[in-house]
Symmetry: C2
Subunit: 204 residues, 2 copies
């Protein structure tokens, strides 16, 4: 792109560094901001900086938080013996939105992926094992592995399970099966196969 | 969305103010920035602010520019008697990319649209008429109307033409027709109709 200004070019360069944002979208954002009031752009700019300067990771579960211990870990209303292991912050939000889970979380920050150079030491796996071993901040009775059903997710599940087995904690994983509302015809074979293998009592 | 942090929520709110960015994308950007190095986020944040504090509009053509007069208006190699009227900065870039045009521009900053509350006085129309009338900075021999082929674009064309006619300047508009590489079968009737009505001598 042949931009008429260095300042515009730099902003486009910076904005197209965001995930999934191409040069064309970045230009659209930059021109939009250029036409916004200065106070609005300042608000945006400052709120982005605060993501680095003021946002915490919860000391226990590594979820994002405004405080050192997140509201979920701090809440007395949660089942503190349950820990749901998820890949990232979005997954915490997805599980929370179901309103079906009242336990705690542990955010790994990714899954093991040799291709992307992500090894166990890059993830919050050691801290999970420590959490189960020491019972700090709360004694863990069950670890629910809720990682994505991908090769990387499965590898990570396997790796974590191997570390947790000697500690005598119960390890479970999410039920896999045909989604609610889906017809069998369009379910893939592996999912449908698992649905049959792990069939459950009919609730009439 | 049920975000675990006010700071994150605020950043998502701000980012989803960008055109075409929903809450979900905004969250993705915010979490991405949270994991970036502080210096990178600062660079982004500062470059956005510079869009407001350091970017100019060219005094003559209203294109964005780092200087008071843009390089196109300042260039002695351009045909200064030709002024191409476009809706916005992206359109200048589109025309420049053809490398077929060596004249100057006039960026209106939009088109007349009563529905969106955009009237002629919100656009750089008076300054265009002034430019033609006074011959400042350069005498204008031809005004090329290159606005979008929409009702708003046509209205604006009509409005500008009416103001320019008394000044005795030549007013032209872009050729409309079947796009290069398109088959007739898929062209809409209006475009194909205009292609026939405004047919041109065959260049063998």
């Amino acid at each position: 792109m042949n931009l008429p200004s260095k300042i515009l070019e730099e902003a486009v360069e910076q904005l197209s560094g965001l995930p999934g944002v191409g040069k064309r979208s970045a230009l659209r954002y930059a021109l939009f901001l250029m036409n916004e009031e200065e106070v609005k752009v300042r608000e945006l700019s400052e709120s982005l900086m605060r993501l680095k300067t003021h946002l915490h990771r919860c000391r226990h579960c590594h979820n994002v938080s405004d405080t050192e211990v997140c509201p979920i870990c701090a809440s007395e209303k949660r089942q503190r013996g349950l820990v749901c292991v998820v890949e990232n912050v979005q997954d915490v939000m997805a599980v929370e939105n179901t309103q079906q889970y009242r336990g705690l979380y542990h955010v790994l920050g990714g899954v093991i992926s040799p291709i992307d150079g992500i090894s166990p030491s890059d993830l919050e796996i050691a801290s999970l094992v420590e959490r189960v071993r020491t019972g700090v901040p709360y004694k863990v009775e069950e670890v629910i592995l809720a990682l994505p059903t991908t090769m990387e997710g499965d590898t990570t599940n396997y790796y974590i399970n191997k570390l947790l087995q000697p500690l005598g904690v119960k390890v479970t994983t999410l039920a896999r099966g045909v989604a609610v509302g889906d017809s069998l015809e369009y379910a893939d074979e592996i999912t449908l196969g698992r649905s049959i293998a792990h069939r459950i009592p009919f609730e009439g």
